[in-house]
Symmetry: C2
Amino acid sequence: MVIAEKTLIQRIRRAAALGRNPAVRTGMGDDCSVLRFLAKNGKASDALVTTDFTLEGIHFRREWHSPESVGHRCLMRGLSDIAAMGGEPVAAFLSLALPRDLAQNWVGRFVRSLISLAHRYGVSLAGGDTAESPNGILADIIVVGTVPKDKAILRSGARPGDRIYISGALGGASAALLGMGTKAKRKWTPREHRRHFFPEPRIELGRILRERGLASAMIDTSDGLSTDLAHICEESGVGAALRAESIPRASLGRPSRPVDLKLALHGGEDYELLFTAPGGRRIPSRLAGIPITLIGHITRGSRILLFHRRGAGYRLEPRGWEHFQKD
Amino acid sequence: MVIAEKTLIQRIRRAAALGRNPAVRTGMGDDCSVLRFLAKNGKASDALVTTDFTLEGIHFRREWHSPESVGHRCLMRGLSDIAAMGGEPVAAFLSLALPRDLAQNWVGRFVRSLISLAHRYGVSLAGGDTAESPNGILADIIVVGTVPKDKAILRSGARPGDRIYISGALGGASAALLGMGTKAKRKWTPREHRRHFFPEPRIELGRILRERGLASAMIDTSDGLSTDLAHICEESGVGAALRAESIPRASLGRPSRPVDLKLALHGGEDYELLFTAPGGRRIPSRLAGIPITLIGHITRGSRILLFHRRGAGYRLEPRGWEHFQKD
């Protein structure tokens, strides 16, 4: 394992050396990586830090997800958190623990895919840790980004009267996952459902919302709309009212059909941006090429209510998407 | 698990809120944490980032290590990396995956111990991730620190003729681990071997070496002297010559006896600082209260040779300390 680990680190270093963000002064090969946040136009920057596990059996299954998909989604989770603050990613750090019997081939494909995504967003793979895993593949990704001083879009900025918006469409990732279960009538392939296997972080959209000062609060939908909206409400000390018919549902299959409302409400890993904006602020129906949909508004109190076209609202409980539980 | 996870995050947040480093603008409760590096005396700072796994069965065993020891050593590994750059720690991020059946009590003791160490060094626990673990306790600690612009002490600064120094004594941690094995004649207790169960990071020593411009290269001895010196030699493009009799060996037992030379050479997790300094620079025999010992010098070439009082030097291969392999 000692030799394999050294080879692994060297391979990652070689691949990582190809593209380097200028903020990274010293990357791999030391006890720490050294980052410098250069002030843009003489203005100071704040640093953003996020960490996310990618664990075999919890976040992916080797028989369902290719190494390329696992590597892409591993980094994607961190990039999406940076997008949800309106920030720009700078550097990533990968902690990777591998079982003894894992094929070298798997690791190479995983790392290449992760680094390919990193390069597209100008992110340096600047460090990390490797270890032997007692069981299964374990990865932890850390992404560091920047945002102009005091300009990060927090979860805590929503106020009663603000409108609630969502980018793209919801429920597609969880529908794809259900489709991979043993009881599924048909399997999805990466080509049929690219947004689940290779989601794109909404970096550009987040940046535009921050630069134009449009959003009062923001989060990415990694756990599912009901859970992620509850996070905004909790941190902002507010409630919310959603219109069921307005929630944009992903379409899958041929002929394509929208997913169940339940998946759009509770399914996770869609990595869309959920944000609020004061009522008077005009939000375009499309930003950075992505559709933006008005789905409700922020209320006083702490409850989240779901309204259908007819009838009273009922309380929407945050039902976290439990990975692979339905299988 | 969803409720348990929420409770866990809330508990960690409550505990973490007690002490906050002023550089941490927004800690837990958002997609990212926001850090600001304030310039000291108008001088810019570089940010340091390090990540380290702590995996059950690889880095610790529940039957050997108390939750307090695991929590302490988990953060300690990151703090020691910051010390090895001459930096000051600012914030820590904890990614923690726990098996379903783990007692709440274990987690509470682990987190309290980790946070207690963080507070003593002015470090905020500023974020992280939680997940369910498919097998065993998995932790990844990320520590962010600062160092004045371009002043980080790298592994790559050693030059032929530089002298090699080590803080404290070596081999104690691995001797303690061997003492816990099933074949061991006697078990060590935390009280008898505090430096293994509750090591202190050499932050103050690293800072003094950096401030006084004493060290040309530095690393912490987490993998063992032979491996960590090889890292310095590799990154600096140099070789080294060590004097076996000069290497300070930890003493254990009653009456206390120094550990075997092999453990001092190859045993890991002592978390001492190994550094080089130009020949003409006077290095005190004690710094920040810790003994500093001259153990050899840097040479041209790439080989590391070990000399005994009599006879020729023989080549010292880096033999990474393989955790628990001897059991």
